[in-house]
């Protein structure tokens, strides 16, 4: 790799980190090429050096953000990590249902939701058990740093390839309509999820408190120093008896003292110190 290529990759990975916190190690620089090729083709940009000069010299914010969005890792699928997901929608939700019987309200945050498969998986799980949750106020919030990922998520629009990744065929038929080569979430499903743009490195206190926070397969793309910051930022937003779900390859150990591994639910995390008796998560603006 030439000196100028190395410099180009460094500039682009710094740009990604500045806007999202995500880091690209030198041995994964090939991802930059793959991710930016369609954007460069679309804008008739011949090579990375030209792209960088357009970003740096022209300071074109539209192109800069398009670059960042193209480089963000949006890998996801429906019901990702099936076994853990079943634990969440079964025993974990059952425990919270017992704790929240008085308020009959549950607030769930799918942080770094990418193109929406995770929050829609949660929404489908509640729909499948509609009788059990009748009369409950279930609020599912979903956020991501990528505006284009959120546009797709809000539309609930998936390619044939995306729709069948993890989604059982019966649920695909029940909750999605086919339109040409795409599959579109039915309104009833889309209405169950509220999407919002949010960078996990910033405070999200304005979203209020949650009973469950899912922050899966995002910390792994952040630099060591950023992981703790994200966990510290979400810690005050989780109810005392709330549950944090991370990706299968992620942990809080060595990142923060604010969470501990759940004794009851393997692979899940809870606030380290319950300061007061369990209280339902309230929707309150604190910022």
């Amino acid at each position: 790799m030439s000196v100028s290529e190395t410099k180009s990759y460094r500039i682009l990975s710094d740009l990604l980190e500045k806007h999202t916190g995500q880091t690209l190690l030198a041995n994964r620089h090939w991802r930059i090429d793959m991710a930016l090729k369609p954007l460069m083709r679309q804008n008739s940009i011949p090579d990375l050096e030209t792209l960088i000069s357009l970003i740096e010299i022209d300071a074109d914010p539209r192109l800069t953000m398009a670059c960042v969005e193209a480089m963000v890792n949006n890998e996801t699928c429906f019901f990702r990590d099936q076994a853990n997901f079943a634990l969440l929608t079964g025993p974990v939700f059952d425990m919270l249902r017992e704790h929240r019987m008085a308020s009959k309200r549950l607030r769930i945050w799918s942080a770094a939701c990418s193109t929406g498969q995770e929050p829609y998986s949660i929404a489908m799980s509640f729909s499948e058990n509609a009788d059990k949750w009748r009369g409950w106020n279930i609020q599912i919030f979903a956020s991501d740093v990528s505006g284009s990922a959120l546009t797709q998520a809000r539309a609930g629009r998936y390619s044939q390839f995306e729709i069948q990744r993890g989604l059982p065929v019966m649920q695909m038929l029940r909750y999605f309509d086919q339109k040409g080569e795409e599959w579109i979430a039915k309104d009833s499903l889309r209405k169950m999820v509220t999407f919002t743009e949010h960078n996990m490195l910033n405070s999200a206190r304005h979203l209020g408190m949650f009973d469950v926070i899912l922050c899966r397969n995002m910390l792994m793309y952040l630099g060591e120093d950023k992981r703790g910051l994200v966990l510290e930022a979400i810690a005050p937003m989780l109810a005392n008896d709330g549950i944090l779900m991370l990706g299968a390859a992620e942990t809080v150990i060595g990142q923060t003292q604010r969470f501990k591994a759940s004794q009851e639910f393997r692979g899940f995390y809870q606030p380290a110190a319950a300061k007061a008796p369990a209280q339902p998560a309230e929707y309150r603006r604190t910022a």
Partner: protein, 121 residues
């Protein structure tokens, strides 16, 4: 070790699917059409069948109906694996007794998730 019967008239598809399944520790058998698959199921009981739709001699749908009605213990999970991607085809396959449906092209993760959904891994 779980067993899988791949039913597809394309040698290439069978080869690719066999490779994926063998890395998941499946014992794999192949059939080039529904008739061959039915013959196989009359002497052997696979845990899961990956089934193409359009094949010569006997189609996937004809195989599925025959499998569910004539084989002594048709306990295999059947995953349709086809380029037919319209809702009408998918619904017809489910009505005929398919357990899951994969639209080609697919990758390892998609197939793995479908095998998990039907309880084969």
């Amino acid at each position: 070790m779980k067993s899988c019967l791949i039913v597809d008239d394309s040698k290439v598809i069978r080869k690719v699917a066999r490779h994926i399944l063998e890395t998941m520790k499946f014992d794999v058998a192949e059939a080039a059409d529904g008739k061959e698959a039915l013959d196989h199921c009359n002497v052997s009981a696979p845990d899961v069948i990956l089934l193409d739709w359009n094949m010569p001699v006997m189609s996937g749908m004809d195989f599925l109906r025959a499998y569910r009605s004539t084989v002594e213990s048709p306990s295999a999970k059947v995953i349709f694996c086809t380029t037919e991607n319209g809702i009408a085809h998918i619904q017809a396959a489910i009505d005929a007794g398919a357990d899951e449906y994969v639209m080609k092209p697919f990758d390892r993760e998609t197939l793995e998730a479908k095998l998990q959904i039907v309880g084969c891994i």
